[in-house]
């Protein structure tokens, strides 16, 4: 039944009129209103058609409600109840009514929506920023290149985003097991943080870092940032480096030797790993060099996004140059501040960054600039160097108020490690750099010509956020004369080469070989450290050092782990590895000095640090209490926390090397209840940490104009300023350090550790000092003999390579030098003789305006030298010893000297045996070394302590002059020196003539009778009757014969060489001095001792 309906036909309309507009209806047919209706009807229809034409009805509700904008809903308790129809009847009248609940729900929904939008906006912003980086458009190209080529060079200037983006591109392309190396530890941490944030994994472990002993790496980690040194370490353990699929070597243009070395190693490694991908990232300098080194690897060049920087050369005039003794002239720097004020209106923002060499220079310039700043009220002067408290360092990131600029005066820390936004002006001068001086063999601050690479880096700091200006306080010709890249320290690399069995360091194929002389120096350094023996082979200690990322303190740790002195040694090693917790500024503060008094140890600075750490730990309560405790004593709390962390890492390291038994899960024990309690506490702590992290994310304060106006270098003022804030905070704010600390450490375990090293017995202390000293060796200093007559401030010391050094004012010995003096009246015949001479072992020789010894320990001279020195030379009767070619010891009574010498020899032999065993290298040796029992160890430490404490031999000690060292040795003797039947005088060591010094090498460190004063002709006279205390032997013996006997003859109670009788041993050692001598005159081969040969010749 199809009917046609036409709205426009009058018939159809009339039919509708019959229905709607009848005579008695509201509107009647035929009226004007009726006519209006049909007109409206037509318009309305047209409107509807239009809507249908444009698509369809969206079906939106007619009434507006803001709630419709929210795309989520929440099922709360009231809804649950309603759905469950569990109307709990009479809800108390005071509770919320239906309306209140509805209101609250609405707010809640809006809140959820708000948080969604907030996070989404962060994500959108992040993606936008990534898209805007110059490197973004090369993403596809980079991935493609890496897929197709084993080596790719990505070159881009600062700001192009390569360091953060390339690793992410690889991740997103599905690569895993990616390692990205950085020259600096701090960059590893900050990059890992940034990249994990950008790859939306800041709370996961997909991206991690690994430095020194610290790692955030887990099984889920796909991308790891690590130092070049650490990657080298890993190559040593796994030559194939099979744990990685992709290696990114960043900042190759910096040309640190480590990096060059790494590239050399990787070049060989790639031959065996065709699946490995290597990406070199560099600035746009010298790209060809890298590409060529790797078989013309493809290069992708990315333009940078650095804003233009105008460079102005302003060489310092001769009259403003600093002479050696004077302070830095601040005028050139002040002129720059003035110039900026004149040229740039204050509304144009932009801060100033001045690079200087050291703390002294910084405070000089700071002082002068502060006066100018106070006067103009247009500057806030802020220092930046690593000895500042962290709170003070943080200030450089704060914002200056409108119309005021920050002037940051910094060491080279701001060159690469710290990025400060908003810097528009940079002042670069010929900065002194702390470096290892191979000639003087010490750390020293010297005026080095900085490299072009680092002055470019500094310049770049001006163009990060807008166009900038770089003032160079030297001539353009100076710049051209700079070396292209910094001169590196080479000794670590030499050690690596040795342990990786890469053969002679001098023949390694470097991308650009370092000077041969510096490699030679490095090898010498390693020999001094005992890492290489005189033949240049790796020693046991050297092998261990090569596996570990730090040097000096590790020696201490290894030694300490042997003697059950692990706990205090751990603390000392950690304390010497971080910056001193003692704030410099508090030194003049008498209150601090008094409060600190009981922490001081006159044994030396490491012991003061040990006391301090222990006292702080015992204090127990951390948080606000600890902060107060530290402030009272002028301590930087942060450093103590660093020590705790490092200490733990050292401990893990020792455990991982099998040098320390791991405790059997004491912390996991306890009753179920206790465990649950611990668990819930940990959960709470984790929550606190998360809360803190969330809050912390972005807080930049606005600086006060008065900032830095008070005391120039002190953090006291800052402390005082902060005290109030701290107090306010303390109430409700949590102490994040405390939380982190508790999360990381079992507090009770730490307390045990402290009690283990508190109140060291004098016995343990002596041993500990010896270990510390052996760790620090060869860093020894001899007090000047006239110190007793000098003022406290004029005490002078001598090291092997440097005369006239002084003790750093922060050292305990600076205030208490008397403990280093030889006691006045102990019945000495001549002034120089005493049994109480002491030496200082020190951590660094710091050369600033004076050469300073830092972190010193005092040790008994003779005993320590005999136990740790690399070279001890004697004359014929051993009344004169020369140690390490610079210290001469003379004894009144040769018999005493002999006795102590032979004790030292046997102690050292025993010690070495234990050490070998400890390091697990004994297996090849005789099986007897396996029998290292606790009892033997006790005996050894007893022996060492007795030796240290009760050696009462009178001797004199002095530093040899340059002239004296020239004619020190007899030198190679003319006659054939083939010893017949040279028996092992000491286990494992063959005595043989020394071809250079002359004399006889008795052990690796002791050379008998090589000093040129030895009266060999009369050596018969040196035979003296002697009774062996052990075996009742009584006969005339030369000193050497006597020592040989003593080395093998044990007291009756401890016979341990069953295979040889004592007397047989004696005889054999008697004959060991004889050698085959061919006499040309009588044409006979004779077996004679050297004395006999001489006699024979005369006949």
């Amino acid at each position: 039944e199809s009917r046609s309906w036409d709205w426009d036909s009058p018939r159809c309309r009339a039919e509708l009129d019959e229905i709607f507009f009848r005579q008695h209806d509201y509107i009647q047919s035929g009226t004007p209103e009726h006519k209006d209706f049909w007109a409206f009807f037509e318009r309305f229809q047209r409107f509807k058609t239009k809507r249908e034409m444009s698509g369809y009805d969206l079906g939106l509700p007619t009434d507006y409600d803001a709630r419709y904008k929210i795309n989520l809903s929440v099922c709360t308790k009231d809804i649950e109840e309603r759905l469950g129809k569990q109307h709990k009847g009479g809800r108390s009248s005071s509770g919320p009514g239906r309306q209140e609940i509805a209101e609250c729900r609405l707010s809640y929904l809006h809140f959820l929506d708000f948080t969604q939008k907030q996070s989404f906006n962060k994500l959108a912003k992040l993606r936008r920023e990534q898209k805007n980086l110059p490197i973004f458009q090369y993403k596809g190209r980079i991935i493609e290149l890496v897929r197709r080529h084993p080596v790719v060079v990505v070159a881009g200037d600062t700001g192009c985003g390569k360091s953060t983006q390339v690793p992410q591109y690889l991740l997103s392309a599905g690569f895993t097991q990616i390692a990205c190396t950085q020259p600096r530890r701090i960059a590893c941490i900050s990059l890992a943080k940034r990249v994990s944030f950008e790859s939306l994994n800041q709370y996961g472990s997909k991206v991690g870092y690994q430095i020194r002993f610290e790692t955030t790496r887990t099984t889920a980690t796909k991308l790891i940032f690590l130092t070049e040194g650490l990657l080298l370490r890993q190559i040593q353990q796994d030559g194939e480096l099979s744990q990685y699929q992709v290696l990114i070597v960043d900042e190759v243009h910096e040309r640190h030797l480590h990096c060059d070395f790494l590239l050399g190693v990787l070049r060989t490694l790639l031959e065996n790993r065709s699946d490995l991908r290597l990406i070199l990232m560099s600035a746009t300098i010298n790209i060809k060099l890298f590409s060529n080194y790797f078989n013309s690897a493809p290069v992708l060049q990315v333009p940078g996004r650095l804003f233009p920087i105008q460079v102005t050369y302003r060489p310092i005039s001769p009259e403003e140059q600093v002479s050696r003794s004077e302070k830095l002239d601040p005028r050139p720097y002040l002129r720059i501040l003035q110039g900026i004020d004149q040229r740039y209106p204050p509304e144009e923002r932009g801060d100033l960054l001045i690079f200087l060499s050291g703390v002294t220079e910084i405070s000089t310039i700071q002082e002068a600039c502060q006066i100018y700043a106070t006067h103009t009220r247009r500057w806030i002067i802020l220092p930046l160097h690593s000895t500042l408290s962290l709170a003070q360092q943080d200030k450089v990131f704060d914002i200056a108020p409108p119309g005021v600029r920050k002037c940051i005066i910094s060491t080279n820390i701001a060159e690469t490690s710290v990025t400060i936004d908003g810097v528009r002006f940079v002042v670069d001068s010929k900065v002194k750099e702390m470096s290892y001086d191979p000639k003087a063999k010490m750390q020293r601050l010297q005026e080095f010509w900085i490299s072009r690479a680092s002055s470019e880096q500094r310049k770049g700091r001006a163009g990060r956020t807008g166009p900038g200006v770089c003032y160079r306080l030297y001539a353009e010709s100076d710049y051209d004369a700079f070396a292209p890249y910094p001169v590196p320290e080479i000794h670590r690399v030499a050690l690596d080469m040795k342990s990786m069995e890469l053969g002679d360091p001098l023949s390694f194929v470097f991308i650009d070989p370092p000077p041969a002389a510096s490699i030679q120096t490095a090898v010498t350094y390693l020999k001094d450290q005992g890492a290489l023996n005189s033949q240049g082979e790796l020693t046991t200690i050297g092998t261990l050092l090569a596996q570990l990322p730090v040097d000096v303190v590790i020696k201490m740790l290894v030694l300490g782990s042997m003697f059950n002195l692990v706990e205090p040694v751990l603390t000392i090693a950690a304390a010497l590895s971080v910056q001193s917790p003692f704030l410099r500024s508090s030194q003049q503060n008498p209150d601090c000095a008094t409060a600190r008094q009981h922490l001081h140890s006159n044994q030396g600075d490491p012991f003061t640090l040990l006391n301090t750490f222990n006292a702080w730990q015992v204090k127990g309560e951390r948080g606000g209490g600890s902060r107060k405790w530290c402030r009272r004593r002028g301590l930087e709390e942060q450093r103590l926390y660093e020590m705790v962390n490092l200490r733990r890492q050292f401990k893990d390291l020792l455990k991982s090397q099998g040098l320390l038994e791991s405790e059997d899960g004491a912390s996991s024990s306890g009753s179920r209840g206790q465990r649950m309690e611990r668990l819930s506490e940990r959960r709470k702590l984790h929550q606190l940490k998360r809360d803190h992290e969330q809050q912390e994310s972005s807080k930049r304060k606005v600086l006060r104009l008065e900032e830095g106006q008070e005391d120039s270098s002190g953090s006291d003022t800052e402390d005082r300023g902060r005290q109030k804030k701290d107090k306010e905070k303390a109430g409700h704010d949590l102490d994040i350090q405390e939380v982190k600390f508790k999360l990381r450490h079992d507090v009770s375990e730490l307390h045990d550790a402290v009690s283990a090293c508190q109140d060291l017995s004098s016995r343990k202390q002596a041993l500990l000092k010896l270990l510390v000293c052996r760790g620090l060796y060869p860093q020894l200093a001899l007090p000047d003999e006239h110190n007793t007559a000098r003022k406290d401030s004029d005490q002078v010391f001598h090291t092997k390579n440097k005369q006239g050094v002084v003790i750093h004012p922060t050292s305990v010995f600076a205030n208490d030098p008397e403990v280093l003096h030889v006691p006045e009246d102990d019945g000495r015949e001549t002034k120089k003789d005493s049994s109480k001479h002491q030496l200082l072992a020190f951590v660094t020789l710091l050369e600033t305006n004076k050469p300073y010894l830092t972190n010193c320990v005092r040790v008994p001279a003779l005993q320590t030298l005999l136990l740790v020195a690399n070279s001890v030379d004697s004359n014929a009767d051993c009344s004169r010893l020369v140690v390490d070619g610079w210290l001469e010891l003379e004894f009144k009574l040769p018999e005493e000297a002999l006795k102590i010498l032979s004790t030292a020899l046997s102690l050292r032999a025993e010690w070495e045996r234990f050490l070998l065993h400890q390091l697990g290298h004994s297996s090849v040796q005789e099986s007897s070394t396996r029998k290292v029992s606790r009892k033997d160890l006790e005996k050894l430490s007893d022996g060492l302590v007795r030796f240290l404490h009760y050696t009462e031999v009178s001797y004199s000690i002095r530093r040899l002059t340059a002239l004296q060292t020239q004619n020190l040795y007899i030198g190679c003797q003319a006659e054939e020196t083939t010893f017949s039947g040279v028996n092992a005088l000491f286990p494992g060591v063959e005595a043989k003539p020394d071809p250079i010094k002359g004399g006889l090498c008795v052990t690796s460190f002791f050379n008998y009778n090589c000093l040129s004063d030895s009266r060999d002709l009369y050596s018969d006279c040196l035979r003296a009757f002697w009774t062996c205390p052990n075996c009742d032997l009584y006969m005339p013996l030369t000193p050497l014969e006597r020592m040989q006997h003593e080395a093998t003859c044990r007291p009756p109670g401890e016979q341990q060489q069953p295979e040889e009788s004592v007397s047989a041993k004696t005889n054999s050692s008697m004959s060991s001095l004889t050698r085959v001598y061919h006499c040309d005159i009588c044409d006979k081969d004779l077996t004679l001792t050297s004395t006999e040969i001489l006699k024979h010749k005369r006949q």
């Binding site: 444009s54 969604q116 939008k117 994500l123 959108a124 993606r127 939306l200 709370y203 790496r217 998360r690």
Partner: protein, 127 residues
């Protein structure tokens, strides 16, 4: 170190190109307790929150044209349903005047919408 695993599913906005891996698509994200979404969404763990259970809605599909769009105000609008900006503009007349006023205000305050999109206008909720 983690070895290779299946690549994560990627959400990409068809309008602005914003991309991010997502871990869930639907109306009831896991571990969100009582929260129910009123549309099928691409969801991931909120990367800016340390809390594992906090989620983030990346976007969903336009109820009119089925384009996959992000939750950003430059790309889409939710009003009982998800609409991409293109569809919103096409059917503007059907939206209540409050919504239209909001959209107008957004486009009036800055004459150049494309520039806005790049420089990242913050959302109302942020202000």
């Amino acid at each position: 170190m983690a070895t290779s695993e299946p690549p994560p599913k990627l959400f990409v906005c068809e309008l602005c190109g914003l991309s991010s891996p997502f871990s869930y698509y639907g109306q009831k994200p896991p571990n969100t307790r009582a929260i129910v979404l009123l549309e099928e969404c691409f969801v991931t763990k909120d990367p800016f929150s340390p809390d594992k259970e906090k989620f983030l809605i990346l976007g969903s599909t336009c109820s009119v044209c089925s384009k996959c769009v992000c939750a950003g105000a430059d790309c889409s609008l939710f009003y009982t349903k998800r609409f991409c900006v293109q569809c919103v503009n096409k059917h503007l007349d059907q939206f209540p005047h409050q919504i239209r006023a909001e959209l107008a205000k957004k486009s009036c305050s800055c004459p150049c919408l494309t520039l806005r999109a790049r420089s990242g206008r913050s959302l109302r909720a942020d202000q």
